[in-house]
Amino acid sequence: MSQSLIKLTAEQVGKDLRLEWRSRDVLNSMLFFALLVVVIFSFAFSPTLEESRRMAGGLVWTAFLFSTVMALNQSWARELRNGVLDAYRVSPAPPEALFFGKCIGNYLLVLLLECLMAPLFMVFYNLTSVGPYWQLAVVFLLGTWALVVNGTFFAAMSIRTRNRELMLPLLLLPISIPAVVAMVTGTTLILTGESSPLTQIKFLGGYCVIFTTACYLLFETVLNAE
């Protein structure tokens, strides 16, 4: 009667994607929010090309951070509605499968968002990259996972607090500061072509490994904290 972790995780992701496709509530609001953020930032900052290469890292990641937090606030909402989370906890399935399933689902959602926002940024700021684009992709992939894995974990923690939507950014942002610093400097280095972002990429890789492990080990404790 036991299921492999991978199979269960895959089922979780499949279920989340199917549910999201059926209701599309998170997706629609996220897309619109992303567009709004890019437009507002464009009004707030109108730099020259050289300046924009220096600033874009910070701007882009601030925008992504906001969008990620908004997406993550919804990440457990579906499980809490109708109390499905209890049904999961009462089943013999390991909670880690639930956690990673959620993480991967959120990751895909946020990546989709970034794929839509990044070109918009490039258009509005007339931005081109001096450094290779594949390096940008790596920074984005690692950085997004760093935010999403901790975000999903803290969103689960926030379930048991009074002001759920506020607790998530409060908990997530301080912990994510090192990752954000690495993401921003890495992106800036690539855009300006100043030097190799290898240190930042390695740092992000290490950060992801360490915190994914920490989340894996502590998720069950946090889920059952009742």
């Binding site: 923690m157 607090t161 908990l171 400097t185 740092f203 502590l218 946090v222 009742e226």
Partner: protein, 285 residues
């Protein structure tokens, strides 16, 4: 609580604080470049040391709690975090005051300062989590967050070291310290660490009392309140006042710092009064 050791500690702390402050203001030589404002250093650094010890206690207690689920561990964890945030708040307030005089600027984004700020933010978020979580899950969630915060600290330090090197690096450290200054620093270190211990002891007991809801414990706790206030009184001794008025920044520093300490102690007393009232209600039912 309130074993005789507590009162003994209070008296020793009072003595050491007075001695340490006298040393810092009178005996220690004035610094070559910074003059008297540098004397902030003698309570800035000890506060940082005390805070670090308290945060370490929080980390160890959190792991202990996750393993054994002991209420004592939880009490130590919250004490370490709360008193640590207060002492670290002192560091973050006295530092910029000193920096404004020494470097002309309140803040600089070098590795150490940035790490300190983030550390403080992490523990503030810890306290916010504790206060807004449902009863029953508070201790577990907070302990998990404490583990994350502890893992994050070395990472934050490394990130800041590697990625923010474009800023000027002013000399903060205690290297090349005059041996006379070193002695004064050590006296103050001892005094403030004991002061931190005193407040932490009080806070811990408050937490245990709150855990046990026993009127007798609360009555004992009220006798201890006076002892905690005592060290604050030394501020108004005459020889101290002479030296303080010499330098504005030092005054600001002292006022700000002791406002924080006294503010926190008042908060603890208010909490104690609330516990009194609750215990009274329980006795009546």
């Amino acid at each position: 609580m309130k074993s005789p050791f507590f009162y003994l500690l209070a008296i020793i702390t009072l003595g050491l604080l007075a001695w340490g402050t006298y040393q810092a203001l009178d005996v220690a030589p004035a610094e070559a470049t910074m003059g008297d404002a540098q004397r902030i250093f003698y309570y800035h650094v000890p506060a940082a040391t005390a805070a670090s010890i308290l945060f370490l206690a929080n980390f160890v207690a959190s792991i202990w709690f996750l393993w054994k689920r002991s209420p004592v561990a939880d009490a130590i964890a919250v004490t370490g975090a709360e008193v640590g945030v207060v002492f670290f708040g002192v560091v973050l307030v006295s530092g910029p005051i000193w920096a404004r005089y020494a470097w002309g600027t309140f803040w600089v984004w070098d590795a150490r300062l940035t790490t300190s700020l983030i550390l403080w933010l992490l523990y503030v978020s810890y306290l916010i989590l504790r206060s807004s979580s449902e009863t029953g899950s508070t201790s577990v969630l907070a302990a998990a967050l404490a583990v994350f915060a502890a893992i994050d600290m070395p990472i934050v330090y490394m990130a800041n070291r590697w990625f923010r090197t474009s800023h000027p690096q002013p000399m903060i450290g205690t290297d090349r310290l005059d041996p006379a200054m070193q002695k004064v620093l050590l006296w103050n270190m001892l005094a403030f660490c004991l002061f931190a211990l005193l407040i932490a002891w009080f806070r811990f007991d408050l937490e245990r009392t709150s855990q046990k809801i026993n009127l007798l414990h609360i009555q004992k706790a009220s006798k201890g309140a006076i002892a905690v206030v005592m060290p604050a009184v030394f501020l108004f001794i005459d020889p101290v006042r002479e030296h303080m008025l010499q330098h504005r920044y030092m005054v600001f520093g002292y006022v700000a710092v002791w406002t924080i300490y006294i503010g926190y102690m008042l908060y603890l007393f208010a909490k104690l009064r609330r516990l009194h009232r609750e215990a009274d209600e329980l006795e009546m039912t």
